[in-house]
Amino acid sequence: MIRPHRTHALWYAFILHRVSGIVLALFLPLHFYMLSLALTDPAQLDGFLVFADLLIVKCAEFALVFLLAVHMFGGLRLMALEFLPWSPRQKTFAASAVALAFLISTSFFLQAM
């Protein structure tokens, strides 16, 4: 349960940024390992690419692209907040980061289908 003092939009933006960061940190080494297979073991990579064609894997990719995009836009918001003059529209920025990430990941998903 989320404690009452945390139930506000910018706390959710904070937790989304952290969680997406952790998931990406776990995913990226795997991602680079898979890429490296193109050089070291193309047969295994081909096997993996067949697996990556499954619908469930496509959905997982959608989630990953969303996390990547939301982490990037959320990070831009934080950098702007820390280095540019303060803007009172932080909630709007956080919501826009989520909306943009959703847009990008959905178009990725539709294209991948």
């Binding site: 404690r3 009452p4 003092h5 945390r6 506000h8 910018l10 706390w11 904070f14 934080l78 907040l81 820390e82 280095f83 303060w86 932080q90």
Partner: protein, 242 residues
Amino acid sequence: MSETGEFLQVSIWREQDGNGHFESFQVPRRDNQTILDVVAWVQQQADPTLSYRFACRVGMCGSCAMMVNGAPRWTCRTHVQKVADDNRLEIAPLRNLPVIKDLAVDMDPFFDKWVAAEAVFEPSQTRDDPMPPINPQDPMRIAASDAIECINCAVCYAACDVVAANPDYLGPAALNRAWSLVNDSRDDGQDARLKAVSGGGGCHNCHVQQGCARYCPNELNPTLSISGLKRATAKSLLGWGQ
């Protein structure tokens, strides 16, 4: 105040010598009743040993803050109507500070951090010097004034998860005060102040969740002040002056 015939189910934290538990009370509900009215009713009508703190009852002194249904509030200006959850109230001492007894917390760590943050005015002149003119339209003065109406209630301090996680963190109120002084043209303590707020427990700990700004009863924005300090310390590190 007129009685409404309804009753509030109130759980109040009781603590003495480190042992604490919630105790239930039934309090008559009234129109325009504040949380402080509820606590005072319990102390006057049900249990005179209940300890709590207040002074002005009009949102000036900053001594009455408590956790109400899990969120920090100034209790003298918080209406029951605004926060009661189906006539239920849970009233606990302010988070992130040691409890003295029941609802009264020890504010020393909070104020010690104001001193540690150099959030104290350092005069650049003496009383014998002429008063320097202050232009209220000056951008620095506007920044100082925006942060100045703090009543030291520690609501922001209780809302902050970084304070909870890092006992050394100076916290939103002390840093907000430091920021108002960074913008005070009469102050002569800037180097020491920037050093103090950029140390281990300083402004760079803030995770910009804005719990402080969400709950500050005077609608101050310590997050804004802290991001100002982050920029000021970065600039002084790069030798760009303030």
